[in-house]
Symmetry: C2
Subunit: 264 residues, 2 copies
């Protein structure tokens, strides 16, 4: 089952949708956060009546397991160019995700450009480290997306983290499924955590909040991604992401705030 | 009137508050966005029953002018450590701000630290460029906060922008009013836009969304701030901020997404 089917939602009322968390999109039994956000955003773009998220923020309230979910949406304002809406995604027991986003129709923009950054330098996908879901690790979620890690950033998998909280790599969906602007939200949360490369005594960094800015619809093909953490402090860390399309265009920028529990 | 008074709110019901946009906190007639967010967050910390925002996102729906405002809050989930709530701030005519935040009680954290960054190097405040509200420019808002710009980043004021979309400076409230974690949201949106230094044909960059992560309660005194833009593209720009307290601790990190209209 591709991402489109695994995140499909059905409108059940003026402001309510239903969908399902499908099996296999999990990390250690809990659905990937970007996957949950993608489900919620499928409903919100319908609520907003605009196809593209421009900026979406999710706060993660509880882990999601396979089963039915519902989303209630409220449109805060519909303006000339943007519609802003909130949504609450729930399973049968509890709320999972609170979302706030502004939606629009992204189109080629004419205007000033100034870009102080570039896509990561990556060896070709076939020379990178494929993250395959073979058994318990990597987690099942990794079988749903096609990730190829920069060899320099893949050492954590064999007990040799780089020492830099940096993860670079290629992203695409399986079977060449197109990546639309909603699927970019998944790309922004699909890679192994940067902290895995940091040589810190941190095993697990639950995400409190994820914000993704979507700048443009990606051209078809492999996306180049960079995730970096600069500040592990006060029990928190941020992880900043950039997603670049094959034409070399920055299509999404993300930041998440995660908790840094002490180990043991 | 200090910030605490200018952002005071009164509970009027189970989930409703009222307050006021006070005169003088505006830029060209419209209330500063961080000021609106501070008002809204004063209500949300009460709704959440937790004093500190950990991460707050605001979507700006309409400009605010002086007068009464109300806020309706909804608690999405109250957990062991965080409470997540949404709020809609309105004036008498329309919604101004949609907010989603998670609130907690920030305390000294023990745990791993890794900090790849530092406060900006700034000349002492008295050797920086004070932004005073003298007449039409700088705007009235600048009289409400005490900003001192790094001389290298202040050239835009005299028609000599640095060419780098970077603004560094000191921040404090007037009359030594303490800066609590809610007031940090104001600090994150108080400086002149980075784009003023970019030598691009852009006059006005309305903010669509602002997210602030608060890591710690700031120690008293001047805060050091850095704001930087790396990507002006596709009709958008992001502005990333860091706020450091006098002990050299990163107390807040911010990112906003703004629109880049063509000039003329």
């Amino acid at each position: 089952m591709g991402l489109a089917d695994a995140t499909a939602v059905e409108r059940t009322g003026e402001s309510s949708w239903r969908g399902a968390i499908e099996g296999g999109w999990d990390i250690a039994g809990n659905a990937n956060g970007g996957y949950l956000l993608t489900i919620a955003t499928r409903a919100l773009v319908e609520a907003a009546g605009r196809p593209d998220p421009a900026t979406v923020t999710a706060h993660f309230l509880a882990p999601g397991q396979p089963g039915p979910v519902t989303l209630e949406a409220t449109v805060a304002r519909s303006g000339r160019r943007f519609t802003t809406a909130t949504g609450l995604l729930r399973d049968e027991r509890r709320p999972l995700l609170a979302v706030l986003g502004s939606f629009t129709e992204l189109a080629a923009a004419e205007g000033p450009e100034r870009v102080d950054g570039r896509p990561p330098d990556l060896p070709p996908p076939e020379d990178c480290v494929a993250v395959e879901a073979t058994d318990s690790f990597p987690p099942p979620f990794m079988g749903r997306v096609d990730l190829r890690l920069h060899p320099e950033d893949a050492g954590f998998r064999t007990g040799a983290p780089s020492g830099e909280p940096l993860v670079r790599g290629w992203f695409r969906l399986r079977d060449d499924e197109p990546v639309d602007t909603v699927a970019l939200l998944l790309a922004a949360d699909a890679f192994p955590p940067t902290i895995f490369n940091a040589r810190l005594p941190v095993a697990w960094t639950p995400t409190l909040e994820l914000t993704v800015h979507v700048r443009a619809r990606p051209a078809p093909g492999w996306l180049r991604c960079t995730f970096r953490t600069r500040y592990v402090s006060e029990g928190f860390l941020e992880e900043d992401g950039e997603v670049w399309d094959p034409t070399g265009r920055l299509v999404a920028q993300s930041r998440q705030l995660a908790l840094v529990p002490r180990q043991g």
